[in-house]
């Protein structure tokens, strides 16, 4: 892998970017330098300000201070569309395309080739095929985007951005919902773009991926710049230390005892026999024991999500039996599952995990309230206690229980799914 020359003029140069939300300083004088043909990892813990940096740099949110230079020329995008027009495109983890339209329509939305005002579909499809072929993708571009995997959707989003003459491509956690094979496809595309001289800012939580593909890293912590380093020669421990702000040894000592429950052969907490739903997931067996974690592994499309949804009643099973604490129960809806003490953290946070309009407090108590039923509202004092505990436990920042959860950073609100899902379990 050829590393770009260090003395080349930067493609994108962000200096002193600052942004506050109310009294909370989300970004404090952060710098980011991206060179042409470079893949640059933007790292940091959840809530470190990565998403805010991206949004402020692309004009989605207005910055308080700081300059942005593209090719040495100062730019000031006022919206995402303006940023794209100047050459900075962003692809988010939750792909912002239209799943019900075809791949080709998504690629050329808003700029379809026309003749006399009519869309020339054939030409559009031809162009789309050619465009995707450049990324090593040979798919039916007339099929709806939703028919394809998240990886393909990501590549379509990237292809669209690049075709819109993007010179800087920002990928916000594109690999979070991809499996190993799909990550490899995405990396191939990223290397191809790199060779074309496009600069890529890559946000990820997987350190292996940083070492696999990135040239340099920029680390943020609590809205501040920790440092910028070349990846080559950077020890992993040093990288983790930069992200956490403390020694890794400190973290590692808190490993749980794993063998303590291995020999537990007592009655399972819950078991599912020949549980399944036709045309959704084949019947399966699943046994859950006290104090154990069961991992569902498999490639995308292998049915792991479907299994989880079936167990929780998000989809109703049409065969098999569910047994909880030795008694056969019916789990036909999430409500049934919640009543039996199940919790669920869905795959798609934005659409299924949180109610964005409601506050942090309301989201945290929602599932518990649902379990208690509508006639027994949780006293406000108890709500406040539970919320305060989870805000502390999950390190939710800003720690404001009355803030609509949709205003929190993606990762932070994802953590709020946890209590929403888990709180109803036995202990309460």
């Amino acid at each position: 892998m050829d590393t770009p020359r260090a003395d080349a003029p930067p493609l994108l140069d962000i200096r002193g970017l600052t942004k506050s939300f109310a009294a909370q300083r989300a970004l404090d004088g952060v710098d980011l330098t991206l060179r042409a043909g470079e893949i640059h990892a933007l790292l940091g813990e959840n809530g470190a300000g990565k998403s805010t940096l991206i949004k402020a740099a692309t004009g989605i949110i207005a910055r308080d201070a700081g300059t942005i230079r593209l090719d040495g020329r100062e730019i000031d995008p006022k919206s995402g569309a303006e940023a794209v027009a100047t050459g900075i495109a962003t692809v988010y983890q939750e792909v912002n395309l239209l799943p019900n339209l075809s791949v080709a329509e998504n690629l050329y939305l808003g700029r379809q080739p026309t003749r006399f005002g009519l869309v020339r579909s054939a030409e559009m499809r031809r162009n789309a095929r050619a465009l995707l072929a450049g990324f090593g993708l040979d798919i039916d571009v007339a099929a709806p985007l939703a028919d394809y995997s998240v990886a393909i959707q990501h590549i379509c989003a990237i292809a669209r951005s690049v075709d819109l003459s993007a010179r800087v491509l920002i990928l916000d956690e594109p690999t979070a919902s991809l499996d190993v094979h799909e990550v490899e496809i995405l990396f191939r595309v990223m290397r191809e773009l790199k060779s074309r001289g496009i600069g890529i800012v890559f946000v990820t939580h997987f350190l292996d991926q940083v070492y696999a593909i990135c040239d340099r890293i920029t680390v943020l912590r609590n809205g501040r710049l920790v440092g910028e380093r070349p990846v080559a020669g950077l020890p992993k421990l040093e990288l983790v230390r930069m992200m956490l702000g403390r020694e890794l040894a400190e973290v590692e000592t808190r490993r749980p005892e794993r063998d303590a429950v291995a020999a537990d052969t007592s009655m399972p907490l819950a078991r599912f026999d020949a549980f399944g739903r036709s045309r959704y997931v084949e019947p399966f067996e699943l046994v859950l024991r006290r104090g154990t974690v069961v991992g569902l592994a498999g490639l995308l499309g292998s049915g792991r999500t479907e299994t989880a949804r079936l167990v929780f009643g998000a989809e109703a099973a049409d065969c098999g039996t569910a047994t909880v604490d030795g008694t056969t129960v019916r789990i036909g809806s999430p409500r049934d599952a919640v009543r039996h003490g199940f919790g669920f953290c869905p795959e798609e946070r934005k659409t299924e995990g949180i109610v964005a309009e409601l506050t942090v407090r309301e989201n945290i108590v929602l599932a518990l309230q649902a379990r208690r039923g509508w006639t027994r509202p949780l006293p406000r004092r108890e709500q406040d206690e539970i919320t305060a505990r989870f805000i502390r436990l999950l390190d939710i920042r800003p720690a404001d229980p009355d803030r609509p959860i949709g205003l929190l950073s993606g990762a932070t609100s994802r953590r709020c799914c946890l209590p929403a899902g888990w709180r109803p379990i036995r202990a309460c």
């Binding site: 669920f344 659409t351 995990g353 949180i354 409601l358 509508w374 406000r380």
Partner: protein, 329 residues
């Protein structure tokens, strides 16, 4: 649980007071109140009295809209309830009339709720069915005539008074208090808001979103039926063709003026009632001013526009855009 005070209600209350002030300017006797036959009279009383049916509709409508739905059938349900109450008035005691009318409203609401929640029909289409069919049903009940009645008990629900306060106002206040107690005194309010803001996430949190949706349509039907009884009692008769005609639009308008988004989620019942009163205050004001009633609709549209503009979240952006740019370092 304390009743949550409307935090964002300033615009609506200010608008209501401003319209009352304008009414007072065009008609200096606007705030005059006199007691006659144990009932208060006066233009200001009239605003509350005449506003009662739309306020009742708005109390039910705001819950439906909070679940991201809409109920176009409330005007028709008013006609059905009025027809039932009027037909029974001279043969049955008043409580039977009222119970039968409210039960009919509940059945209508159940129908709407099942279409929306179980069969997944879009609310605007689902309730359009009853909006059209309802008037037909009401006409079948009245056999195509305008049914009048003599029962003073039922008429008292429209023209009577309790401690001087006109009955429609009393009934609206009761409906408001009962609804508030039901919705904000329990966890229903939170569940309705959650259902409207994100039904999928709410379902996964264990909320019975289907039951929530059916329940709000049923409650909306009951409120509409009560409004229908009030309207029928007021004119001592049921006119299946005209009772509650177009009032569904006023009710939706009242909810929107009250700051509840048509996209569901957060809602405020008291502000929806204020919205209904704003609409009625304008109607009364234009009548008092002596302008031609044709102007009513235009003025109404202007005021609605003004209230909505004040609420618009974009207004802050526009204001920021017009003011000198903040210097960027």
């Amino acid at each position: 649980m304390p009743i949550r005070l409307p935090r964002a209600g300033t615009a609506q209350i200010a608008a209501f007071l401003a319209i009352l002030a304008i009414n007072w300017m065009v008609s200096p006797q606007f705030f005059d109140i006199r007691l006659q036959d144990g009932r208060l009279f006066g233009s200001i009383i009239d605003v509350f009295n005449r506003g009662a049916p739309v306020a009742l509709l708005a109390i039910g409508m705001v819950l439906v809209i909070a679940t991201r739905g809409i109920d176009l059938s409330v005007g028709a349900v008013m006609a059905i309830a009025g027809a039932i109450a009027a037909s029974l008035a001279d043969s049955q005691p008043v409580w039977v009339c009222l119970a039968a009318a409210l039960a009919a409203g509940a059945v209508c609401g159940l129908w709407n709720g099942l279409l929306v929640a179980i069969f997944g029909i879009q609310p605007i289409v689902a309730t359009l069915i009853l909006m059209v069919a309802g008037r037909g049903i009401a006409q079948l009940i009245t056999e195509g005539r305008i049914v009048t009645f003599a029962s003073p008990d039922l008429a008292a629900l429209g023209g009577g008074a309790l401690l001087g306060v006109p009955m429609p106002v009393v009934l609206t206040a009761i409906a408001l208090i009962v609804t508030l107690a039901l919705v904000r005194g329990t966890a229903l309010g939170l569940m309705i808001e959650a259902t409207g803001a994100n039904a999928r996430a709410s379902r996964l949190a264990g909320i019975d979103t289907t039951a929530m949706t059916v329940a709000v349509y049923v409650w909306c039907g009951i409120c509409a039926a009560l409004a229908g009884v009030v309207a029928a009692a007021d004119i001592r008769g049921a006119d299946a063709n005209n009772a509650g005609l177009w009032l569904e639009l006023d009710a939706i308008l009242a909810v929107v003026i009250g700051g509840t988004s048509l996209f569901g989620g957060r809602f405020s019942i008291p502000l929806a009632v204020v919205g209904a009163l704003i609409i009625q205050a304008m109607n009364t004001g234009i009548l008092l001013s002596g302008y031609r009633p044709e102007l009513n609709l235009v003025v109404k549209a202007m005021v609605v526009l003004a209230v909505l503009l004040i609420q618009s979240p974009r207004l802050a952006d526009i204001r920021a855009y017009l003011s000198p740019r903040r210097a960027r370092s």
